[in-house]
């Protein structure tokens, strides 16, 4: 499932709520969750806030396809992606990726690979608010161990 949210969310409340509604609960052996959070510091500067722009139709379609292909590729029971858009404050959760599987290797592999795909391809852009002015984040750093 994919959820794009304009409001602050609590990742653990979302996990609890989502998981309680699923019918695969007795088959799950492994859950791997990644949460990306806004830091108040980046590239040597204090950052007081952030705007996340997206391309609504394409962002949703891209992430939905990523969920579907990842479930198939890693034989997951389920995969959930939540991403914030709009105005973000430090310590806000930006992204959550959760993968459920029977055994742990699949959940670990999938959560990391989904994050890497999301960071390198999902149409989302961050603009940081600094003490003076603002700037677009230029690129995401790849995670060398992701695949």
């Amino acid at each position: 499932m994919v959820i794009l949210l304009q409001e602050t969310f609590d990742p653990w409340q979302q996990m609890q709520h989502y998981q309680s509604q699923q019918d695969w609960q007795n088959s799950v052996g492994a859950t791997a969750v990644f949460v990306g959070t806004m830091r108040d510091f980046n590239e040597g500067d204090s950052v007081s806030g952030m705007l996340i722009e997206h391309y609504p139709e394409m962002t949703a379609a891209y992430l939905e396809a990523l969920v579907t292909t990842s479930i198939e590729q890693y034989q997951l029971l389920d995969c959930l992606i939540i991403h914030r858009t709009g105005s973000i404050k430090p310590a806000d959760a930006i992204v959550l990726v959760a993968c459920w599987s029977a055994h742990r290797a699949a959940a670990f592999d999938a959560s990391r690979a989904v994050m890497e795909k999301l960071k390198s391809e999902a149409p989302l852009w961050k603009k940081e608010t600094l003490l003076q002015g603002s700037r677009w984040v230029e690129k995401n750093t790849p995670d060398a161990n992701a695949f």
Partner: protein
């Protein structure tokens, strides 16, 4: 087949600000590529090295020929997550 086609063009993030374009609908000649469309809209701008393009909400490339009714998007490297 008509001589012109209609296309919706979208710009995002720093491109939207840099080029002053967000969401345009225009008519162009048949067989126009995504690269040519950019030059038609912004004749004085250079195409950024690290441009990404999408056609109908899927990744595409500058050499693709546009069809009638397409939605074309130009944007910089993504920085979500």
């Amino acid at each position: 087949m008509s001589e012109t086609i209609t296309v919706r063009v979208r710009f995002f993030a720093s491109f939207r600000e840099q080029f002053g374009l967000s969401d345009e609908t225009l008519s162009v000649a048949n067989n126009t590529t995504i690269r040519q469309l950019f030059k038609l809209l912004l004749p004085d701008a250079e195409i950024p090295d690290r441009i990404l393009v999408a056609r109908n909400q899927e990744y595409s490339d500058l050499g693709q020929v546009i069809s009638d009714g397409d939605e074309i998007a130009y944007f910089p490297p993504v920085t979500g997550g």
